[in-house]
Amino acid sequence: MIASLGRFGLFVGTFARASLTHRPPVARTLEEAYRIGVRSLPILLVISAFVGTNLAFQGFYGFRSIGGQAFLGMFVALSGVREMVPIMVAAMVAAKAGTEMASQIAVMRSREQIEALEVMAVDPYWYLITPRFLGILLVLPPLTILSIATMLLAGWAVVVAQLHQNGQAFLGLAFGSLYTVDFLFATIKGACFAVIICLVSCFQGFTSERGPAGVGQATNKAVVYSAMVCAILNYFLSQALYG
């Protein structure tokens, strides 16, 4: 465990030095951002929508028993914007983009392509990780905001169409209980999760064993460790930002 943490620390240090001592790979960063953003967006929108519907249901039936339906907007907004959506987006992006990063790099490790980069005097940390890091950092905050908007919209639709409640009152209370900083904090969480997902996934790919089993293990560990670290970090971030 301590040895693994030490190796991860060394990996992050080497990556940071490589990124700071080379020109940023702008074109490849934009390619990565486009790829991560476009591929993750549909699944994120679907899941965010259904997080919104279910928060609305749970809020409605939970508050109805104490006559507090009016708090529905506040419940959906606070739980969704502050907690559910940022961590759910992180988990989905870890499952989609993180596993892709780990498996691609692990396959390159297996096929000696990382060593080939080194022999060609091209820094593999800069070539492979920097564009992925900047790309995911660029798209995860806006993906989080888009997912929040979808979640609120879906929650509103259920409140109006299915629960037959006052939609305007729902939105009024939802936005009334939120501050601008809530959106800022959601993007900060998104950025922190982006850093974790990228570094953990790329580390798993870089340090994978050769062969198909190694690629499978790296992919599996990437999603498990990324999601776990994001969940733990989410607790501390919420403490720091809202405590």
Binding site: R111, E112, Q113, E115, V119, M120, A121
Partner: protein, 252 residues
């Protein structure tokens, strides 16, 4: 400044172990400039580990690895990168990037180490592809290349920066005998045409005899024999003769 008669690569008493496994056990070796050197030996003898030391991918536990006057074991990353720009390497599987076309793979080092425009890079890459008898395949996706073609594209990439030394890791592994002969012919032709130093790691003694000026044999971490080709073929060392017996007719 390095003299033309100095060895381009010098290993001095190199030791390397992975855990309890001793892979290199005091290997010393001079690789003469402009010559083709083949290192033979059975699988697991430490051949690949040896060349990874030469290109600085591995560091010895003890001993020295000198490349053109620079000690790779103690060189900074910047120095190693400088040395590597003068190296080309053909990996066992080619190590081509599947997301690029054959030609883009060849042009890859030019993109990062020259100021050539895209069209100039393409021209140089096409020239190198023609040199390895693969004209007109610049735009072919890498996954569509056969095993032999991958090796030749890998070779074109290895020579694209016109290096001083090209290192081959098992250039014939996984190839049929005819394709293997083609690769051997290419290596001989390249050496005559470009006059560069080749270091070839192989378990194929026939290939070594066909292409090399010097041959060495690694056995259980030791370089048990290292000599010019003719002298090597007349060696009295039993382990070397036993290894060669399967493939070549030995002098009495």
């Amino acid at each position: 400044m390095a003299d033309a008669t100095d060895p381009v690569i010098r290993l001095v008493d190199v030791h390397k172990r992975f855990g309890d496994l001793v892979v290199l056990d005091g290997v010393s070796l001079d690789i003469p400039r402009g010559q083709t050197v083949a290192i033979i030996g059975p699988s697991g003898a430490g051949k690949s580990v040896l060349i990874k030391h030469i290109v600085g991918l591995l560091e010895p536990d003890s001993g020295e690895v000198w490349v053109d006057g620079i000690d790779m074991a103690h060189a900074t990353e910047r120095q190693k990168r400088g040395v590597r720009k003068r190296f080309g390497m053909l990996f066992q599987g080619g190590a081509l990037f599947d997301s690029l076309t054959a030609g883009e793979n060849v042009a890859f080092p030019l993109r990062y180490h020259t100021k050539l425009s895209e069209s100039e890079r393409r021209r140089v890459a096409e020239e190198k592809l023609a040199m390895v008898d693969l004209p007109g395949i610049y735009d072919r996706p890498t996954p569509q290349l056969s095993g032999g073609q991958r090796k030749r594209v890998g070779l074109a990439r290895a020579i694209v920066l016109e290096p001083e030394v090209v290192v081959f890791d098992e250039p014939n592994s996984g190839l049929d005998p005819l394709t293997s002969d083609t690769i051997d012919d290419l290596i001989v032709r390249m050496k005559e045409r470009l006059g560069i130093t080749f270091v070839v790691i192989t378990h194929d003694i026939v290939q070594a005899v066909r292409i090399a000026d010097w041959i060495g044999m690694l056995w259980e971490g030791h370089l048990v024999e290292y000599a010019p080709r003719e002298r090597f073929l007349h060696t009295r060392k039993q382990v070397v003769r036993a290894f060669m017996k399967r493939n070549v007719t030995l002098p009495q």
